[in-house]
Amino acid sequence: MESPYLLRQARIERITRLTEKERLFRLVFEDDKTLGHVPGQFIMLSIFGAGEAPISVSSPPDTRNEFEICVRVVGSLTNVLHTLLKGSTVGIRGPYGKGFPVKEIENKDILLIAGGIGLVPMRSLIKTILLKRGAYGRITLLYGVKSPEDILFKDELDEWSKVPDFDLRITVDKPHPLWKGHTGVVTRYLPELKIDAERTAAVIVGPPVMYKYVIMGLGEKRIAGHEIFLSLERRMKCGIGKCGHCQINSVYICQEGPVFRLSDIRRLREAI
């Protein structure tokens, strides 16, 4: 029997500074096996001496032994990660959890709502969808950030906005001298969207405070609870359903989530 805490070594192949606090890391495994993830899943990232943390995979499924993560500096592990140089090694275990239902939402219009760093796992989904563009209907991405400097993946957003039937709206919380686009919280732009509720699937990823309001907004658009998917964040120490940190009532987020169908958790107290 092998220890579930053992790690696969991966080398940092490329580091891209996205904002003051967030960097994108391209990681390549020392062995030639792929990560084998689906969009929405996460890995446990580890640096010996600094610890471990759950981090979403930000790249789409790949047949090569590489993948990307985007990490915000917040504490001990993430600070150390940001000091590492290209060529350093980190430890990886996973992938863990249940991802987005990529197959189920085929042939539907896709409404994506991301807040802040929520765009990180969403990017894996968007890229997966774009690789099979023909299989999906219209795509709308509402992306909310605190200020223009916080916008992640600027070049890619630009590219996506040029894809046929891809409606991109970025909104910045408060007016900003350098910002000419939308302002205010993401929910403000929901009413004006033309949505065919019958054929729309919605995906939400953002900070805890965002969910309640977005869910109310989607309700007004008459999108059914079972067509809404969201990714929940909780503290996690093991990723394998033992340590108890991510438990909401009888649900372990690392096992049954992090992606949930709204209708499955609407009545789950403490979830949203």
Binding site: Y5, L6, Q247
Partner: protein, 346 residues
């Protein structure tokens, strides 16, 4: 089930025999309280007593346990640590036998926890009877007796010991070290008599059938009880620490001063501690003590029951015994039962 009779003086021979191949841990008296410690002879064992303050789970799921050993540098190296000795847990009470059964489920389901399972495999469990105190309520949650989940079960019947065989492994050990004979019906009935006597000794009891408790708890999410006890709870986490079925943990790294080698280890954590459900960005999903108490109580009577089947409280009363402000799990549960019966929430 097979019952044997072990003469009085056979016990120390048996323990001496076990000591040749195992570390033996059992209940001893320390500063007047029963605690589980390593023993070197049968004399030290306290074989008929109320529950220990700290649970014997520490021998299967240590408070601090190394998971990985690593070397840092250009090419980091890592190896799995699974340090486990052959051990005998001698004198485990029925409630704790049930608790170990539950931990076995938890650590084996889904992705198996190799560290726990390795230790468990190398562990022999020898049960004994016990004396309930005013906090014990195993009778109310069907854990007053243990029918299996032990290797041997030893009960003092005056002239000697009645030994119930639980597993082949247990039988082999007994037969290897001491002479026993088949127990007579009369001897066996002494255990039944003892159970009758024990049953009458409880002062604490839950006023509902154990099978109805998940429903009672699921209906009491909004009870005022949580806020009431939340106001007096210190959030110290002692209740988590002493509970034989609390198994939450934190994972941390320790690195030597030369920054070259170190280990990743886990330590017990507790859902009553403030930071337990806090995430990056500072949001805390169970901010108040009332919410955290509700979570812990529900884990025992509802949440884990949905996941694993069977109540996760074995009625040992340790959390009530340890609580600095006398929050008592039986009283709280009875209050919830009463609220449900009267339909009134004061």
């Amino acid at each position: 089930m097979d019952y044997r009779f072990l003469p009085k003086k056979g016990l120390s021979l048996f323990v001496d025999g076990l000591l040749k191949d195992f570390k033996v841990y059992g209940p001893v008296k320390m500063d007047g309280f029963p605690v589980y410690e390593e023993v070197s002879s049968a004399k030290e064992l306290l074989l008929m007593h109320s529950p220990s303050h700290i649970t014997p789970k520490k021998y299967l799921f240590p408070q601090r346990e190394t998971l990985l050993r690593f070397k840092t540098g250009e090419k980091p190296q890592v190896e799995h640590a699974a340090d486990a000795d052959n051990q005998v847990l001698f004198g485990i009470h029925p409630c704790d036998i049930h608790a170990i059964r539950l931990l076995d489920r938890v650590f084996a389901y889904g992705t198996p926890d190799v560290n726990y399972l390795r230790r468990r495999e190398k562990t022999i469990i020898i049960g004994t009877e016990c004396l309930p105190d005013k906090f014990c309520f195993c009778r109310s949650v069907n854990t007053m007796t243990a029918a299996n989940d032990f290797d041997l079960f030893i009960h003092d019947i005056g002239a000697g010991f009645l030994v119930k065989i639980g597993t082949e492994k247990g039988k082999e050990l007994l037969f290897r070290h001491v002479k026993t004979r088949k127990a007579t019906i009369k001897e066996i009935s002494k255990l039944v008599e003892f159970h009758k006597k024990k049953e009458s000794m409880f002062t604490a009891s839950i006023n509902a059938e154990p099978s109805t408790l998940p429903l009672i708890y699921s209906g009491s999410y909004d009870s005022p009880v949580w806020e009431e006890i939340g106001k007096i709870c210190y959030g110290c986490g002692s209740c988590n620490l002493v509970c034989p079925t609390c198994y939450c943990f934190d994972v941390r790294d320790d690195i030597s001063l030369n920054m070259k080698d170190g280990e990743r280890y886990r330590v017990w954590d507790g859902c009553l501690l403030e930071d337990f459900a806090k995430v990056a960005g500072g949001h805390n999903f169970r901010k108040t003590r009332g919410e955290r108490l509700r979570h812990r109580f529900n884990r025992k009577f509802q949440f884990q029951v949905d996941k694993f089947g069977g109540l996760f409280c074995v009625g040992c009363g340790r959390c009530s015994r340890a609580c600095l402000v006398n929050i008592n799990i039986v009283e709280i549960t009875n209050k919830l039962i009463e609220e449900r019966e009267t339909g009134k929430k004061e």
